[in-house]
Symmetry: none
Subunit: 209 residues, 4 copies
Amino acid sequence: MALVSQNQILQCLIADNLVSDPNGARGRLLTEAARLFREKGYERTTVRDLAAAVGIQSGSLFHHFRTKEEILKAVMVETIRLNTALMQAALEAAESSSDKLRGLIRAELESINGQTGEAMAVLVFEWRSLSASSQADVLELRDIYEKLWLDVLESLRREGALAAEPFVVRRMLTGALSWTVTWYKPERGGLTLDGLTDQVMAMMALKSS
Amino acid sequence: MALVSQNQILQCLIADNLVSDPNGARGRLLTEAARLFREKGYERTTVRDLAAAVGIQSGSLFHHFRTKEEILKAVMVETIRLNTALMQAALEAAESSSDKLRGLIRAELESINGQTGEAMAVLVFEWRSLSASSQADVLELRDIYEKLWLDVLESLRREGALAAEPFVVRRMLTGALSWTVTWYKPERGGLTLDGLTDQVMAMMALKSS
Amino acid sequence: MALVSQNQILQCLIADNLVSDPNGARGRLLTEAARLFREKGYERTTVRDLAAAVGIQSGSLFHHFRTKEEILKAVMVETIRLNTALMQAALEAAESSSDKLRGLIRAELESINGQTGEAMAVLVFEWRSLSASSQADVLELRDIYEKLWLDVLESLRREGALAAEPFVVRRMLTGALSWTVTWYKPERGGLTLDGLTDQVMAMMALKSS
Amino acid sequence: MALVSQNQILQCLIADNLVSDPNGARGRLLTEAARLFREKGYERTTVRDLAAAVGIQSGSLFHHFRTKEEILKAVMVETIRLNTALMQAALEAAESSSDKLRGLIRAELESINGQTGEAMAVLVFEWRSLSASSQADVLELRDIYEKLWLDVLESLRREGALAAEPFVVRRMLTGALSWTVTWYKPERGGLTLDGLTDQVMAMMALKSS
DNA sequence: GATGAATGAGCATTCATTCAT
DNA sequence: CATGAATGAATGCTCATTCAT
């Protein structure tokens, strides 16, 4: 029972200036940056590459961002903001703890393998390219996001549906789900995102209604 | 029932010239390279950094390796060779499919969080820095390694102990286990490597004897 | 016996459109430009710095001046024009050659260390940043100014009060007086501008009435 | 009665590693840097200009100096070191205070208008391009140099040969002598360096034996 | 007039690689 | 084998100037 669509959530965030409009100059740059950082890595992507990808000159980049690193940070920050909102919506749409977990897994898989997938991969693989102070800023946002997961896993534990420790399980799931980006190709096989979600639940011996 | 020690395996590989002696010039360089690549990333590590780490001048590096990328490739190749041998030993030491899986998980966790951890992380995080042709070479070795896992998982499936697909489960485990490098600190908490292995088995609702 | 005040001279020049009104947009810009060029140097001062100093956007600067160099030239030209007028007034207010020289020295010290000090320093220290053709234009104005000095020094020579050559003495005085800007701080010590003028006359073994 | 030649002094400083051998790679670069900085200004001189002037590639500069500013600082530091040594020699070669002053003036004029002239001009005109911390380092050296002058001027004052204050006179002379670089051309007129020195002494109404 | 995004040439600096010693 | 100066292409970033609004 999705109360709000993904697109509605995005519009709210844009209105609040929390993420950039993907149709605007800044938003398009961030989309291309995520793609290039994912494809070639942050270091191997030059500001000239970034500029060319959105059809401007390299010098013009610096009207929108003061440094190349600021672009990396913006990709990460906006991705977390968007995904936190999507996770909250997924939680609100579910009743049981088991369904809530399924909702989170499904939503994270969608983030990782859908439109924001490149940005999600950047978040994982380019972490070290972020300066220490930027890392601290991003970690603050990340904590909010992770809290959503831990609350659900703790409920499952209390209900006796989960044998392992919530903290450890979340870490395992983070790795397992992130890693799908390296191999899961929806177009290729018969495995849909829902099917993949089922597999994860099955691996954990959990039932999803 | 470990038939052969880890050290014996290493000695065999060194004797066969499949991995470098960690006490030799080449081996020490690869160890330091793995550490630096993991710490700062391949791109941000300069050949001067590498040379300084083993106490030589940057020009001298090129007597041992033709290019910087060759160093990265060697780190990866030798790591896979060593770990393939370790996995095979783990399999030989176990009887049941469930114990075999536990052995693989335990061995991979040890690789990831033990002495070869840095090299294992490099294998994951610096993959894109490898040229296409080197990637192909490394992938060949990787296939052998992955086959060991798939065989065990397929047995478990046949035995009814595993509900999800072996291929998918292996990918999930790859991600989940690799990711431990980002958070698992044996010295810090009460969780030993064996405890961690138990958690993974528990998460999959598998019993380990 | 000052026949006309400094302010009266300034008003005449503004009326004749020879210098900009310091309260107008152009005048304020030139004042700020002199300050910034002196403080940071011409090259290190950006047009954005200049624009920010007068509260406009960088693009708007180019409605007042065609190029950044034109601003530098205007600072120099207007400074020479104003100082030439001030020197002429100083000469008219004195009787003897010795007093005339004292008047010139006193007036130049005031130019250098007073309100136009920053512009005077720019004239000296940023000379090379001026294009050859602009240098020629400014030099023409400078010749008029220098003529005033040479006439007085030649009179003194003829009167036997000066042993050295007028041409050389003027050059020495130019350097000595310009240099005061680097060390003379009227507010700090007991040395007033008149006291400093006396020191210069004393150094030259000249009496000033 | 010059006890030691200028060249002998230079050789001592080179031997003590206080200044670079003008025939070495570093020394030649500093000479060319002084020339270019003087001619075009520090900011307008690119590292490519500097490299081209000594016949190397721009990247190679950074084997000798870590930054462009380090080159500027080295020009200044070595110039002050050399001139301090030359001044000390000039003092030792003179008897009376008046002769000592003449020696200092003569030596400084030679520094300014001779081989180190360009470097001396850089010291004056490019001062602001030096970072605050480098300025502090250079100022320490400068204090030693200035002390030599003040001691002589104070002696003259005590002897009644100087009416003005030593501190002020030194500042005036600094400006006057530095400024000669902008106009004095020995080859052009009949004025030799000795003649110019005489003019300065005459301007101050001092006799030189 | 004023704006501010865009330009594009230019800058100091980095760094893997080479090679004479 | 080792050195370390030299290379030269590439990088992130700056900035005077333009121009559509």
